[in-house]
Symmetry: C2
Subunit: 223 residues, 2 copies
Amino acid sequence: MARKEAQTLPTGGRAWQRQQRIGHILAAAERVFAEAGFEGASMSGLAAAADLPKANLHYYFGTKEALYTALLDSILTLWLSATDSIRPENDPAEALTAYIRAKMHWSRTRPHASKVFANEVLHGAPYLGSYLAGELRALVQEKSRVLEGWIAEGRMEPVDPPHLFFAIWAMTQTYADFEAQIRAVLDRPELTAQDHAQGTDLVLRLVLKGCGLRFSEGKRLGE
Amino acid sequence: MARKEAQTLPTGGRAWQRQQRIGHILAAAERVFAEAGFEGASMSGLAAAADLPKANLHYYFGTKEALYTALLDSILTLWLSATDSIRPENDPAEALTAYIRAKMHWSRTRPHASKVFANEVLHGAPYLGSYLAGELRALVQEKSRVLEGWIAEGRMEPVDPPHLFFAIWAMTQTYADFEAQIRAVLDRPELTAQDHAQGTDLVLRLVLKGCGLRFSEGKRLGE
DNA sequence: GAGCAACTTGACCGAACGGTCAATCTTGTT
DNA sequence: AACAAGATTGACCGTTCGGTCAAGTTGCTC
């Protein structure tokens, strides 16, 4: 799956307007696909969410499947960028803290994107299978080697790196994907910034202490 | 949502055969709804999976929605039973270990049930909303008081109990719900018993050490 | 074994689905 | 101002959807 980024286009031009429309449609589609899933979303529903005629969506994307994969594609760009802090020369506690905070922040600010991804994987990743087995797997292997290096140097306790990633993904994304459950249990009309802060604290606590690293409650980077 | 259990029926009787059929249809529906979601599953697909004519499913359940909610209902019975070990008089480490092992075992043996539940919550829990806000919320409040008791007695470190439950649910259920992702990253045709054992070890490590409790790798109850 | 309720099922229905298309309007270029 | 390429859209199409129904079969009761 190729991922190309829009280079800076002269504002107001024909191609620029095209990018605007496509971005507008994808933003609406993210909401609809997140709430209804691929099968549950209808082209007329997607069109209504974008406030455009259905035929217009077909003009830009051809098929529902193409619109969906274009959306997945745009989401993956975000997905891969959060592991930057995990590098051999960094401090393990600071690197993991930064990674977890980034994932939690992403769950808070882009819950729909997380849900679209979750729905795709939940149903067997029919469109994302090759990405998972390719780019994601390679990324996990690379970052796992970094963790193994830290373990070998005695800078953290021996934990299985891939499974640690699974645990971190699960705990952080649950605040987006299973938000309905968390809201119900906490009896909130919607999750507050404080709920997310408490969740972040707990995830940091479990991961850092689980890896034998120091953890101090409520700590922010730089304190 | 009422939950009634089949009392022992005389084998081979009229009512007994009816229960058999219903159980057979629900078992097939669990697979189909897990793989396709509510909207993605079709009545003809459900009928094919159960190897019965479509009209026969309508005879027993009336509508697709009724079949789906009957399935959810049967799943919830399992869901609520795993927290039994969390009682004030038990040892915190042993209670949490038993709970996590139960949840992990359930992810391994009933992955489809987990996926159906996950799909429902992911899309806003339209049918499960009242259960989440009712029975589940009450259960979490009750068990949270147990944890708070342990914390007050100094038997574990202060962690936010509801968020701890969210974390445990997320980490354990991820081995069922996001199995496609884990399989891809680990490069497996399917998850092995050892993969689950390593996952269990990691979840136990994070939770026990995160709560300031002792953790020894590979430990089983009674060792 | 007659009668009846429970069950089974192929054929069918209106609605909604994803997708197509030709007619029309807009816009950058010359 | 003229023109071509791009963009817009209402109307339409074949398929599949969830659901219904009537005709037929089965099995329990008396």
